[in-house]
Symmetry: C2
DNA sequence: GATAAAGTTAAAGTTCACTTGAACCGTACC
DNA sequence: GGTACGGTTCAAGTGAACTTTAACTTTATC
């Protein structure tokens, strides 16, 4: 059983042009063609497409994803290199998550801030609040917004 | 005390051209000018720049950040709208973190997979592994890579 | 075999977020 | 006041990741 590019695109939730672009960039060396030149996506190919989707979600650029795919097709002597690449991306994801966690704490503080502002009838009244009126769980975030940067 | 655009850029760890770009896009309506037209960044302005940096880290586009800044300068009647915007972004961050968590589990599985491949002397041998040779903690991730998409 | 829908390529266009270049101006120091 | 450094604007350029267009071919159905 096989899928045309339109069917595969629908299954993946992307535009057919996106898959053609990926192919042109060398991300889909595994996709075969019909005698007439039409791309044939096999079930097994979706395993690859899922990996590509996963790496894309980590923010990895197309070029680096290609490097990984290329390594996969170069045989067993690249296993260590592939693992290293996966580990590097794992570290990048952990860093992103830590960053998002900090960002989230700031958004939570802002939510609290506006809740107070609504209660006090405006942002002007917020200035009159003593610094220890900020609940403990928002102190760190409040500081992040005020602090001097990268000094 | 005030900073020139170059000093402010250094403190924030960005290029001066980036700040000029943000200004042109309406992200810095609070920055004043010298009589000669030179931008003067005050200490208070860095509070704003930190918020911009924070929103940018959530992946919010410049246009939407501008909307938020604009709301802030429209007075107290926009407090609820600002809070709604912050909440929306909070949800977006939570979704991103959930996505990264899933991605991380796949990268962890891949790490395990290559560890096995190294031990067995190649990826070919991995096919001979029975499905329940996959440790419990990696089963879900392995499924994510095999499963049919968006059906 | 005709037709329509969907496939193919190559090249150009789009959007986003900056960056660079050209020409010019403001500020600080000697 | 002259010089150098860094500021200003506007327009054009960049790179990433697609998308669109044009011209043409393949494939499925009648």
């Amino acid at each position: 059983m096989h899928y045309t590019i339109g069917e595969a695109a629908k299954r993946l939730g992307v535009a057919p042009s996106t898959l053609r672009y990926y192919d042109k960039e060398g991300l889909l060396p595994f996709v075969e063609r019909s005698p007439g030149g039409v791309r044939l996506f096999r079930d097994a190919d979706f395993k690859w497409l899922n990996i590509i989707e996963c790496l894309k979600k980590t923010g990895m650029p197309i070029r680096d994803i290609r490097t990984y795919i290329d390594l996969c097709f170069e045989g067993d002597h690249t296993v260590a290199a592939r693992q290293a690449l996966i580990n590097k991306q794992r570290q990048a994801v952990l860093a992103q998550m830590a960053q998002l966690q900090q960002t989230l704490s700031i958004l939570d503080y802002k939510h609290w801030y506006y809740e107070q502002a609504k209660a006090l009838g405006g942002c002007g009244a917020m200035g009159t609040l003593s610094p220890d009126a900020v609940p403990e769980e928002h102190r760190a975030a409040a500081l992040l917004l005020q602090r001097a940067n990268k000094e």
